[in-house]
């Protein structure tokens, strides 16, 4: 179960993310809507996991633990999606190609199983990165 796969990552808005955001960024709705990665069924097979398993997603700038889920809005194999928010932004490269616009869509990541690692809350994931989290 130490399989690792490479994906092309995109981050987008979803309606659940929007509703969660308006319900409050510390709400359960926001957590459920954003701390996920959507992948194609073939990628679940490649990784050897069932849906709703925690995974560690790593890019060139960092890594984040999120829950792997199947989606109604089909992706093609090799493409992954994390809804926009603090979890996605842990791994979004800040380089802007002189446009001001970071790489929110189309950056390489690896995904590995992290079944027993907990998903941090929205505030904690940001505070942790900023060194403000009291342990």
């Amino acid at each position: 179960m130490t399989n690792k796969i490479s994906l092309n990552m995109i981050t987008c808005r979803s309606i659940k993310q929007g509703v969660g955001m308006e319900a409050g960024k510390t709400s359960q709705k926001y957590f459920d809507a954003c701390s996920i990665i959507e992948m194609h069924a073939d990628d679940f097979k490649k990784l050897g996991i069932w849906k709703n398993t925690n995974v560690k997603v790593t890019s060139s700038v960092g890594s984040v633990i999120v829950k792997a889920v199947e989606t109604r809005q089909d992706l093609y194999p090799g493409l992954g999606h994390i809804p926009m928010g603090p979890w996605a932004n842990q791994i979004v490269p800040a380089y802007t190609f002189s446009t001001g616009e970071p790489c929110f869509k189309g950056f390489p990541v690896t995904v590995e199983v992290a079944m027993n690692e907990p998903i941090m809350s929205a505030v904690d994931v940001v505070k942790n990165a900023c060194g403000l989290l009291k342990k």
């Binding site: 092309n8 995109i10 987008c12 808005r13 979803s14 309606i15 929007g18 509703v19 955001m21 308006e22 319900a23 409050g24 960024k25 510390t26 700038v61 960092g62 109604r72 809005q73 089909d74 992706l75 093609y76 493409l79 999606h81 926009m84 928010g85 603090p86 932004n89 842990q90 791994i91 979004v92 490269p93 800040a94 802007t96 190609f97 002189s98 446009t99 001001g100 616009e101 970071p102 790489c103 929110f104 869509k105 189309g106 929205a122 505030v123 940001v126 505070k127 990165a129 900023c130 060194g131 403000l132 009291k134």
Partner: protein
């Protein structure tokens, strides 16, 4: 008796629906129900009445907890921060009124701030392209009444602008579009089979990052030139067929979103989309509209443009002139390169929506966040100043995604003693004047 407020403007997305009906309690304090809004819009109105809302400014203590302070203390701290800092990033503005922006810009001129709005991580690329090649555009009313060919390229209104399709682009019957949905052909270009793709007549699944190539292929096909067999995973026969369909329409419109502005190519993708629109005007009428996200991000671009000539990332730190250079005066670049001394966030949440490197940089600087609710930015700020929600608890001018100004309405009273954005910024402005006069 609860009363019903009609024709309320929704302060969530750039569609700015202005037909909401909100029922409020007789003391004008509580929202009881919201009609006509989408799931996100209703949540926004209902959120005002949720328990646990912060109603007074909070200051972060050395142990990481927050302590309540008065508005006067918060205003004094903020004004001092702004005056001391040689260059302050004043970011946000997309969820507040144009009146508030105007006061904010006055402060920025005095203290030498960089004023940037959410376009910097959203439609900034589109604005660069518009500066390069112009834009043949129209209003959403024209789309409703005229458009019979609608392309959604790299955008997903079913999720991001939920009522866009029913109010303007797919379902409504208009003056020349009496058959509504049946009279329109809908195309969706995306790398995911989104919920918008489900209501489209034709879904074009493109490989992620090949938008420029496919747009270029559309232009090539429109001129009747030869194409390779596939472009970004799309067979050439499909491209030729769609272009012929588009030419046969009376009025076409392209709506584009983050699928173009965030992917490789950025402004060049939009440049190509605009050029394709221009080319199509040789055959029929064609128009293009950016799917702006925040409800008043367009307004921020408008106010900045008429005051300084640039729509976002305006550097006023040289006091007597405004500078603008993407990659240099844009928020994420400024933060990552540590080129600002302090941060003032208003009406947005960079803590949640900026790449983490930029957020870490912000957390190391004196930071004030003005926002009605607790979010990721407030939790890493030194001061959090809650304000009344514009569009719910106070009115103000906003611009729709097609640059049409719409006045938002006050529906309920803000919690007792809570300031609005305009009141707060005016007080900060006055305190800045006092401090600078004493220098």
């Amino acid at each position: 008796m609860p009363k019903v407020v009609t024709d309320v403007t929704c302060p969530f997305c750039g569609t700015l629906c202005d037909d909401l009906e909100v029922t409020v309690s007789d003391d004008n304090k509580k929202i009881l129900s919201v009609r006509n809004a989408c799931a996100i819009g209703s949540e926004k109105f209902n959120h005002t009445s949720l328990p646990g809302r912060v109603t007074r400014p909070r200051k972060r203590q050395p142990d990481g907890t927050f302590k309540e302070i008065t508005y006067d203390e918060a205003i004094d701290w903020t004004a001092n921060m702004l005056v001391k800092s040689k260059k302050t990033l004043m970011y946000g503005w997309a969820s507040t009124s144009c009146q508030a922006m105007s006061v904010g810009h006055e402060i920025a001129e005095k203290v030498g701030g960089v004023v940037d709005n959410c376009a910097t991580v959203c439609h900034g690329s589109s604005l660069i392209a518009i500066q390069d090649v112009g834009i043949p555009s129209c209003t959403l009313g024209e789309v409703k009444n005229r458009a019979d060919r609608v392309i959604f390229w790299g955008c997903n209104p079913a999720h991001a602008h939920p009522r866009h399709m029913s109010r303007y682009s797919i379902f409504p019957r208009g003056f020349f579009t009496v058959k509504g949905h049946k009279g329109r052909k809908i195309y969706c270009v995306d790398c995911r089979h989104t919920d918008t793709a489900r209501v489209a007549d034709e879904f074009i699944q493109i490989q992620q990052g090949y938008d420029y190539e496919l747009l270029d292929a559309f232009r090539t096909a429109a001129r009747g030139e030869a194409l390779p067999d596939t472009i970004g995973g799309v067979p050439k026969e499909k491209v030729y067929k769609i272009v012929e369909d588009l030419k046969a329409g009376r009025f076409g419109v392209i709506f584009f979103g983050m699928g173009l502005t965030h992917t490789l190519g950025r402004n060049h993708n939009i440049d190509e989309a605009i050029s394709f629109t221009r080319d199509m005007n040789d055959f029929t009428k064609f128009s293009i509209i950016a799917m702006r996200g925040h409800w008043n991000v367009t307004g921020s671009g408008q106010v900045l443009s008429w005051q300084y000539g640039f729509p976002y990332a305006v550097d006023l730190s040289r006091r007597n002139k405004a500078r603008y250079q993407t990659g240099e005066t844009t928020s994420v670049d400024l933060l990552v390169r540590n080129e600002v001394e302090a941060c003032f966030n208003i009406a947005t949440d960079p803590g949640a929506h900026f790449p983490i490197d930029a957020v870490v940089s912000m957390s190391k600087k004196p930071t004030v966040t003005v926002d009605p609710h607790i979010n990721m930015s407030t939790e890493i700020s030194d001061i959090h100043i809650p304000v009344a929600m514009v569009g719910v608890e106070t009115g103000g001018c906003a611009y729709r995604m097609d640059n049409v100004p719409i006045e938002t309405r006050k529906v309920v009273d803000a919690p007792d003693g809570m300031l609005t954005d305009v009141e707060l910024l005016t007080k900060i402005n006055e305190r800045v004047d006092q401090l600078m006069g004493a220098k």
